[in-house]
């Protein structure tokens, strides 16, 4: 078990390093330079060259890389080329926004998806076909389209929730919750569909297991067979997919944040990409990778705890 954890940790560090290397190389093979970005389109060649010199752009790549790495270890992500703000402080404010949307959407997807998938597996027949076809369609719908449709129904037609905007938790917890409602629901449509398919397949597989027949032969009540034994068996793939789901939602939050004007990590990424703000871009990549890596670690541990074969190994 200890060796397993050590190996996962090494993988985690390696992944973050890879993210830094890739974004670093990406930036340096391009023809745009930080000087040009900072000075804007009006600048002359000479001014740009001078600015690049100041920013240390002309130093050897290796030196710049280890410089950046050293800063990173100290928690310093540098400053934005556009407005000079601290990237680290900016992203620290943004991560909770994205994380809470992704987390709530994942949890809600889990609950809704498991209910749908298990119902379909247990009921079979027409109910199953209806639910699974519905899930197949739901996971194909573009989130940004679903989001606008939900805004139309839940904000414009019924006025249940605000259409866009974000309220700080500290200022107004209830307002915070309602401001997240439509974004979370939007992500849940596709997320629940994926979980439903996973839970359905897992449940079917579980119910076809030999040990389920043993339980039947022992006169075990049907509810216990389904919701204790089969569900427990199906929980492993569902938890794995939920983890992947969280990662996908976290990384893919950019669309939702754009649509609902939420000040999250994805929005920062979009702004940085649109303005070629190189240090901000690398910062977003690094922070997102760290979150993904930590989630993966937690997920591995959770799956290990759920699976006796791993737990007792």
């Amino acid at each position: 078990m200890l060796g397993y954890v050590a190996r996962r940790l090494a993988m985690a560090v390696g992944t973050v390093l890879a993210a830094v290397v890739i974004s670093f190389l990406l930036v340096h093979i391009s023809d745009s330079t930080p000087g040009a970005v900072r000075l804007g389109p009006g600048a002359t060649e000479a001014q740009i060259a001078a600015e690049n010199e100041v920013l240390g752009w002309n130093r050897p790549l290796v030196v710049q890389f280890f410089d950046y790495l050293g800063d990173l270890v100290r928690g310093d992500l540098g400053t934005s080329l556009i407005d000079g703000r601290s990237i680290g402080a900016d992203l620290a404010d943004r991560v909770p926004v994205t994380a809470s949307i992704a987390l709530f959407a994942t949890l809600l997807s889990g609950v809704v998806g498991v209910c749908i998938g298990v119902t379909a597996a247990v009921r079979g027949g027409r109910v199953s076909r209806f639910l699974m076809t519905g899930s197949g369609v739901a996971l194909s719908l573009p989130a940004f389209w679903v989001g606008v449709l939900l805004v139309y129904v839940l904000a414009i037609q019924t006025g249940l929730f605000p259409a866009t905007g974000y309220v700080e938790f500290a200022t107004d917890p209830a307002g915070w919750a309602t401001s997240l409602a439509i974004p979370v629901l939007t992500l849940t449509v596709g997320g629940a569909a994926i979980i439903a398919r996973t839970a359905n397949a897992g449940m079917r597989e579980a119910l076809a297991q030999e040990h389920i027949r043993t339980l039947r032969a022992m006169g075990t009540p049907e509810w216990r067979i389904r919701y204790v034994h089969a569900l427990r068996f199906a929980s492993l793939p569902v938890v794995s997919v939920l983890g992947i789901q969280f990662i996908a939602l976290f990384g893919g939050s950019v669309i939702i944040e754009n649509l609902f004007a939420l000040p999250g990590l994805g929005q920062a990424g979009q702004f940085a990409a649109a303005s070629s703000d190189i240090p901000a871009l690398i910062g977003v990549v690094v922070v997102a990778t760290v979150v993904v890596v930590i989630t993966n670690l937690l997920l591995d541990l959770l799956v290990a705890a759920l699976d006796p074969k791993v737990r007792t190994a």
Binding site: L139, P142, A274
Partner: protein, 679 residues
């Protein structure tokens, strides 16, 4: 634009499509409504988008300022946008880029992922590890955010961006394909091809890749859908073609700002995009054949059996001492062929009855029908199962549940999978003890430990704390027997209880069963293809062939003086020779195989394989009394007995014997003496 996880490959059949499904006409996946819709829609979209400039009613930038935000009309079939531009023209003019760019992602992802998977599967563990570690790192990178970084650096160049996405996703493709490639390589014919000297490239191209075609197609179609969503998502964020050039994503972005006063604007573009992604996914599902798996039978119905039982009601057994009496039992596939016909036997308390025969003779179906645990779509279609004077056929499931575990228990062939892998042994034993015996938690645990000791487990406490995967096969079977004993049943049904075990462990389990019968007065129905087991433990035996009992009686009588040619043949095929007996020169075999249900001949079902077959065997005839209270189902039984004939080991049989599926599986303890047949 969440990067959807690709479905795991184990959802998808890796076997090549059976030829029956391949036959002329449409490919199988186009015969499903989803698959047909998917393929037709994708082809239509591609054709309509690529030719849009030829047929579109308006230019993409052409403004009809009098008709801004118009609803569909004769002039504008899908309405107009805020600048009065025709939506139909813009949607289809915008289609080519996402449809092609998503294909680029798929091509790049498979172009990298698939060869890597083939190499990793071929080159063994070390190479596989290196590649897998690298792809794991790639998998953990946040793809969407990295794409944004790429856009920030190289600008909006959709095809290059989608190619880079393909590189990132190739790690996921690799992971799925590696599993498939490894399982394909394990199949024998790939080894055979390699032994035959085919080069590595040829082995991959000729043998491995075609077997992977289904999975590749499924994953590619799914990935295509994801790619479409990502291209549109990027355009939605403004990283798409610049205005006035149309793009699906930006048209939806545009619509979202007019959702207050012109909600219709959302519908056409969103619907076309959604339908296209749905089409890709439906095509993937159809190729994977998921629709057929989804077609599960609804609740089981047993109308016929119910009617029979209603007409008869509970009856007194013919043999007053019997605990279980099965009469004329028929089991059949609903709306299909019969699997078991006219099976009758009687079991007295404390006796052991063996059901023997080759695979596919209906032994297991008979045994499972005793507990009402037949597979979905199979049911008792006639006859009677009288358990302690109570008719079990067509008993409601609720009442059967009350009998299962408490009165009748079962152990199965594969002890390793019979126990729930997710729960400790203690949990699995304590739970029925509390339910059936009403024991408290601590008491139940004490009883559980006692039961384990009773089945010969010495360190019961350690085993209680274990999980099934920590037990050996023999140990697991002991635990399974202990589990069956938790409800203090009167009858134990043992379905091939020793088949999956080592020979030494087999003997231990059999002696355990014998001790239980002796000590507790348990009755046992044991299903086996092994005559050794029958001779070892059974008091009575019923030999089954093709769904019918062909001979039954006391074990001693049937094994010592077999009357039916099939029983003789089973005994003659026995490789075990007791001490002091001469070793036969060659083993007998039974040519041919058991005919499958639905193709049984009229008259004697064994006639096709019998050495003693004659014209009269093809006419139906009744069973004759034999072995005292037993019976035999053979029209020539007296002639054969008079001639003193036995099953003869012939040359053909000897040659065929080692072949697959042609011999009888049984192993009998009785020697086979060779004597003249009476052909």
């Amino acid at each position: 634009m969440s990067v959807l996880p690709l479905d795991a490959a184990d959802d998808v059949a890796t076997e090549p499509v059976p030829p029956a499904q391949r036959r002329r006409g449409l490919p199988y996946f186009l015969r499903r409504p989803g698959g047909l819709f998917g393929a037709v829609w994708l082809v239509f979209m591609l054709a309509a988008s690529l030719t849009a400039s030829l047929w579109r009613p308006y230019e993409v930038a052409e403004q009809d300022l009098a008709n801004r935000l118009a609803l569909p009309s004769g002039a504008h079939l899908l309405g107009t946008d805020p600048l009065g531009r025709d939506l139909l023209s813009r949607i289809f003019s915008a289609g080519a880029e996402p449809l092609l760019a998503a294909a680029v992602t798929v091509l790049v992802a498979f172009g990298i992922g698939l060869p890597l998977a083939l190499i990793a599967a071929e080159r063994g563990r070390r190479v596989e590890r290196v590649i897998s570690r690298v792809t794991e790192v790639f998998l953990a990178l946040p793809a969407t955010i990295l794409l944004l970084a790429v856009i920030g650096v190289i600008g909006v160049r959709t095809f290059i961006i989608m190619a880079i996405l393909g590189v990132l996703i190739s790690a996921a493709v690799y992971r799925v394909m590696l599993g498939v490639a490894q399982s394909v390589r394990q199949r024998l014919y790939v080894d055979a091809a390699r032994v035959n000297g085919l080069g590595s490239l040829r082995v991959n191209l000729v043998h491995v890749l075609p077997s992977m075609a289904t999975v590749v197609a499924v994953q590619a179609a799914q990935l295509y859908g994801i790619g479409l969503l990502i291209v549109a998502g990027l355009a939605f964020l403004g990283f798409g073609p610049a205005e006035p050039a149309p793009s699906w994503g930006f048209m939806i972005q545009d619509a979202s700002s007019y959702v207050f006063n012109a909600p219709w604007l959302l519908v056409p573009t969103g619907l076309v995009l959604a339908l296209t992604v749905v089409a890709a996914n439906e095509l993937a599902d159809a190729i994977a054949g998921k629709a057929s798996i989804a077609r599960t039978p609804t609740r089981r119905k047993r109308p016929l059996a119910r009617a029979i039982a209603a007409a008869r009601g509970d009856a007194a057994p013919a043999d007053p001492a019997a605990i279980l009496e099965v009469r004329d039992l028929d089991v059949s596939v609903d709306d299909g062929p019969a699997l078991v016909t006219g099976v009758s036997f009687t079991l007295r308390p404390g006796r052991v009855l063996g059901l023997v025969g080759e695979s596919g003779c209906g032994k297991t179906m008979t045994a499972r029908s005793l507990m009402g645990l037949l597979p979905d779509g199979v049911s008792v279609s006639g006859g009677s199962i009288l358990w302690q004077g109570r008719e079990l056929v067509a008993l409601p499931d609720k009442e059967l549940t009350a009998i299962r575990g408490r009165e009748i228990a079962m152990i199965s062939q594969e002890p390793m999978v019979a126990l729930d892998p997710m729960f400790s042994i203690a949990y699995q034993l304590v739970q029925p003890l509390r339910r059936i015996r009403g024991a408290g938690k601590a008491e139940a645990r004490t009883i559980a430990a006692e039961l384990l000791r009773q089945v010969g487990i010495v360190d019961a406490e350690r085993v209680l704390k274990s999980y099934p995967h920590e037990l050996s096969g023999g140990m697991a079977q002991r635990v399974a027997i202990a589990l069956a004993l938790t409800g203090e049943p009167k009858l134990l049904i043992a379905d091939e209880p020793t088949t999956a075990l080592d020979v030494t462990v087999q003997a231990e389990i059999l002696s355990l069963l014998r001790a239980l019968v002796r000590d507790t007065g348990l009755s046992v129905v044991i299903v086996s293809h092994d005559l050794g087991v029958v001779a070892d433990i059974c008091d009575d035996v019923a030999v089954m062939y093709a769904g019918a009992v062909v001979e039954d009686g006391s074990a001693v009588a049937v094994l010592d003086e077999p009357a039916h040619p099939y029983t003789m043949a089973l005994l003659g095929a026995n490789p075990h020779v007791p001490d002091g007996e001469p070793v036969p020169e060659r083993l007998a075999s039974i040519p041919g195989t058991v005919p499958p249900p639905g193709s049984w001949p009229t008259g004697c079902r064994f006639a096709g394989r019998c050495q003693f077959v004659q014209e009269k065997c093809t006419v139906p005839f009744p069973a004759l009394p034999a072995h005292g209270a037993g019976s035999v189902l053979c029209v020539r039984v007296d002639e054969i007995a008079r001639a003193g004939a036995t099953w003869e080991a012939d040359d053909i049989g000897a040659e065929v014997a080692p072949g697959a599926g042609l011999t009888a599986e049984p192993i009998a303890t009785e020697p086979a003496a060779t004597a003249g047949g009476i052909r």
